[in-house]
């Protein structure tokens, strides 16, 4: 039995027939493995990038979507003397996420910037000091922007 096997192996090595078929098989398998591996790696990278980008988009949009804020009160007052330059805004967080107020605009001009966090259901105030006095009875356009990009705006009239 052993002798017969040894003879078969010797004949297979010595034989010159079907070499091309063998090589072709090896070549095809090698190419398939190489191309398949490359494709798999490329595909994994692309999908990972897509998944990461989409994840950030969904996450950002969700966080932004959960923000709701309301300007409860705009109080035109004189904190320092009779200069009519003070406005106090009361902002309530009525959303499902903590908000961070980033800036406040009065008539299109940024008059306050910073980071003021307001918890869910809470109300906070922002005191503004204008560079020029508000006129009695003047209609004022006020926007409050959050760090996530939501803006609440409206018109308020100063007391007569």
């Amino acid at each position: 039995m052993m002798r017969r096997n040894r003879r078969t192996i010797q004949r297979f090595i010595i034989s010159r027939r079907a070499i091309s078929t063998l090589l072709a098989n090896v070549l095809v398998v090698t190419m398939v493995v190489a191309l398949g591996t490359t494709l798999f790696i490329w595909n994994t990278g692309v999908m990972g990038m897509y998944q990461g980008g989409a994840g950030v988009w969904f996450s950002t949009r969700s966080e932004m979507m959960k923000e709701r804020l309301a300007i409860e009160e705009v109080w035109f007052t004189n904190v320092a003397g009779q200069d009519h330059k003070n406005i106090t805004i009361y902002v309530r967080n009525v959303g499902a996420n903590e908000i961070k107020i980033a800036s406040v605009y009065v008539n299109g001009t940024q008059v306050w910037t910073g980071t003021k966090a307001v918890d869910i259901g809470q109300v906070d105030r922002i005191s503004l000091t204008l560079t020029s006095s508000w006129a009695p009875g003047c209609v004022t356009y006020i926007s409050v922007a959050t760090l996530r990009g939501n803006v609440v705006k409206g018109y308020w009239q100063a007391p007569l």
Binding site: T21, T37, F40, M47, F58, L69, R92, V94, P159
Partner: protein
Amino acid sequence: MLRRFAGRRKGIGTILGAGYFIIIVLAIFNLIMWEFTQYDAYQQLVNQMNQLDQDRISENLQFLDPALTDFESPESGKYSFSLAIRNAGGITTNIARIYFVNCSDTSPNSLTIIEKGTSGVNYFTNGFINPGEDNHKITVVTTLDMYTASTRAEPFYIHVATERGRIFSSFYPIAQALPPAGSVPYIDIGPLRFVFDYNSLNYTTINQQTPAPAWRIPNLGTGTNIVFFVKVIDIDTTSDIKLLKYCVFDCIEMSASGASQKISSFYIIDKNSKYPPSTLYAYDETNNPQILPHATKGVPPYPDKLYPQIVIFGASTWGTNQPKALFTGGGGYPEYEYLVLMGFYYNFPAGSQYTYGVTVPFVAIRINTAT
């Protein structure tokens, strides 16, 4: 069969390629499923926030004229009143804060913030309003004397902020149209209304124990004690009136023959009094004062609801049950006529320390005349 399959060399690449293909397809499928999951979660959040927005815009609060009622001063420096509101929206509304802005003041004191609470200062209770609820009264306790402010004609903005972020505003005092001019069977003096109908002025004596109209009193002998019953209405829609013991029914004798102009003053007695002298009860303004209840504001087109009260006069001295007779002079059954003035002294609102006094030119009565 298996040995032959294992021994064959053909189709290895195809199997490997197919394997890779399946792996890549599964990876893409996984990505699609992940995206579906993410999108579904996002869409659920969008729906949830849309629902919140719809709830918010469903809120609709209306201030009922005159907005503030039931003024009281429970202790020094503290004032309480009710903010009357109707929930015309389709959803329960919870008040988060109330802002009072004094329009005639731009100092740092012009804004008063009323928080939800149960004690301290500047708080309110009963801020939960069910849909359809009418004349819901939010009780406000504050350092702000809104009653005096209204009497001084100091206008205020009232901003009511809800927990969902809606703001409902009103101006106080709410402007009211004057009633149309014309012939009306009553006279209004301040918050008091005196009605002129046949039964609005009655009297009793020992001989007439059931109240009878007092426009002409027959068979009234000299020295006969008498009690007068007058119909009075508090037409104010916010505050009750507490009558003081000094209220008086003055009958000025105007006899054509004598013209003595003697005055008989009948002071207010307890509302349970009936006829003199046995069922007269002294008026106790401290422990058992007579309160005229305020009118209830009617919802258009319905008018205000008024609550007539009978005020009884019959004491010769204030705060007692000593009976009194009309001045007649002479004796027997003389004919006399009297002009009647009433002095009304009262606290308005009933629980406050604000004291008023008005003279009411009331009626003319006569006794023992033929017609």
